[in-house]
């Protein structure tokens, strides 16, 4: 059985900020504020079958996950963006969003722990 593997990896952010804790904390806080709003928007877009809106929000959130090293979750969002953009496999979107929500919850826990470790 594999160990609990973290979804995030802050090494890129650390190198980008030159290890400045205040900046890293600022970016983490911005993500923790913005990502749940984006998720809520995506759920609403999916419910109202606004595929263009869903694609746009997924597209905007996608690179941010990459900055926090959440590559797997970024891929998941990329897939949601593709399904909404090309309007294919639309029946899979609700389960993909559920999956994304579960991963975002884990990412939130990890980033909140990082914030504490950064002294914020």
């Amino acid at each position: 059985m594999s160990e609990n593997k973290e979804l995030t990896d802050l090494s890129y952010l650390r190198s980008l900020t030159g290890g400045a804790n205040d900046k890293m904390a600022k970016y983490i806080r911005m993500f923790l504020t913005g990502a749940p709003i984006s998720l809520q928007q995506m759920e609403l877009y999916a419910l109202s079958k606004d595929w263009s809106g869903l694609k746009g929000t997924a597209h905007a959130l996608k690179p941010q996950l990459g900055y926090f090293g959440a590559k797997g979750t970024e891929e998941l969002l990329k897939n949601i963006e593709r399904m909404a953009g090309d309007q294919v496999d639309l029946e899979q979107i609700p389960s993909s969003l559920e999956n994304f929500k579960a991963q975002l919850d884990l990412i939130t826990v990890e980033l909140e722990a990082q914030l504490k470790a950064l002294g914020n």
Partner: protein
Amino acid sequence: MASKALIYIVDDEPLQRELLADHLGNMPAYEIHSFGTGEECLAAIKVRIPTIVFLDYYLNSQVKDAMDGTEILQEIKKLAPAIEVVMISGQDKIEVAVNSMKHGAFDYIVKGEGAFVRAEKTVFNIYRFHKLTGTASRYRTLMVLFGIGMLLMIILVIYLQTHGYISKLPGWA
């Protein structure tokens, strides 16, 4: 003291905007301002013209009916053609990049880990490009002035020759 060159950043995602602004803000010669929509940026351009605008391709994730990057790019070029616009997007489709360049973008950057370093290099490339075009323009002006000088000299010599002034000069026989 020389004034700083101005850079505008337009991105509807606050985190993306902040990351780029902080990164480019490390360059002391530039003053950075950022906007959440292209419309805000256009309003700012009417007040103060920047050297460079970093412009996100999709700008409607927060404001649904916001103009997209290509529309804003065209408006910027109408307002001030000298502004260098660098498009930024999560889209790595070649047609999106080609479309941006066709509308006058200086460069196209795909969002991701390398984007911030690339943005910094692009600022340097724009600075170098402007310096080179400035030098070329100065050389062109110099060459035109030299040509006019030569032409005036020839006209003067012809005038002096036809009026017999040159043959009257000492030593001319």
